[in-house]
Symmetry: C2
Subunit: 214 residues, 2 copies
DNA sequence: TATATTCTGTTGCTTTTGCAACCTTTTTGT
DNA sequence: ACAAAAAGGTTGCAAAAGCAACAGAATATA
């Protein structure tokens, strides 16, 4: 994997990359599907870059409900802000959906310019800034969806975000229905019932995970 | 106002501050209570620092409902990530609750080192990084509250956040009940009804806006 | 100090959502 | 190719939340 393809190392040459990774003592690790990559209980202050595979940030509530906070694809970064601090009785973790490889970098080493004061470190921080902006943006969109008051409004809001992102009225849901309901924080069968009504009302077309806004 | 007291200019000397503000062509403006500081329609790519007064980031929905996305106190920064991009028919704005003074800084000028390549600009970027982290954290907390499935769970989740923040089981709500309901995205009377039940069930004590977790 | 306005709190009724149980279809593993 | 597991989908019933209308308390304004 060419690290300079990842957003964090954007605009850093491959040579500088490997030098910096060594300087920051980055570590690569492998995980199996279903395994827990990162638990925010243990709160290791490092960021992870998903090199390949699929994973998700999930929260498990005391009462057994589960919420999907974020879907991670290759090159996604997670944990970069020590965010997702679990409060009280919930527990947040990054869980592999398929086999994964992850690169860990210590947060302190990442944000302070190293002793060698490599100039590329400035670029790294600028990239981190961009990533954080993107994340804030994603979270804002999430808040927008969740602050809708009915299931139908939540669905429409999210569909419009997907459509805007793809510049098309037809798009694929990046979830199973079970995960989608957890993402919207609503009951699965109530959600499917509502999808049926929306179809009947001529708002959407839907077949499996392909959706078209009308 | 001493700008080096603001989080963005933390660890920058007062002298460097004023030099940089000039270099970045920062502008100070005043607003009256109720006025709109910043509309994300117009999307001016600048960040604002609230120097004094109280303001809030609100979203107005097509159907007339309103959601409070964030409360802003003096020294708060907003707009720093071009986030809150309104989708479709909603409109997001920063609205003054009292008279306010705001400092605007162009985002481009802020994130690129200026021609003079002042060393303190590095500090500025590091501060921005910290602010973005904080914001991500705040948004994550917001998502945590909103992804609770019942009004009672939303309330308890938020109360626990407040209690954790103040290190005390007693705290003041920073909202009127109307705004609080908008913040939680629930119906006001349903919320007040639930607060009554929670009091009856011995979960909380409440008198006006002072709440104690039991 | 009187009056208007905004905020707080209640209640009955309606709609929405959640829950549980069940069946069908699709995917996975051997 | 078959069995087992997971995902998709339906329904009746119960619980929760929304809505609207109203009344009392607090605050602002003249």
């Amino acid at each position: 994997m060419d690290y300079s393809e990842t957003l964090l190392f954007q605009c850093v040459s491959a040579h500088d990359c490997s030098r910096m990774l060594e300087c920051m003592k980055a570590q690569k690790r492998s995980f199996y599907a279903g395994e827990e990559i990162y638990s925010f209980d243990t709160a290791r202050k490092s960021v992870g870059i998903l090199l390949n595979g699929q994973a998700a940030v999930v929260r498990y509530e005391y009462n057994g409900t589960r919420s999907i906070l974020e879907n991670l694809s290759p090159k996604s970064i997670f944990g970069e802000d020590l965010s997702f601090i679990p409060s009280g009785d919930s527990c947040i973790a990054v869980v592999c959906q398929t086999d994964c490889q992850v690169l860990f970098i210590d947060y302190q080493r990442l944000t302070r310019t190293c002793q060698n004061a490599c100039s590329c470190h400035t670029q790294l921080i600028r990239n981190l800034l961009q990533l954080l902006s993107d994340k804030t943006r994603a979270l804002s969109e999430r808040v927008e969806v969740l602050s809708q008051r009915s299931i139908r409004e939540k669905l429409m809001c999210y569909f419009m975000q997907l459509a805007a992102g793809k510049n098309s009225n037809t798009f694929e849901l990046p979830f199973t229905m079970i995960d989608f309901a957890d993402f919207l924080s609503v009951n699965r069968s109530a959600m499917i019932r509502e999808l049926g009504k929306m179809k009947k009302d001529g708002l959407i077309q839907i077949s499996r995970r392909t959706i078209t806004l009308l």
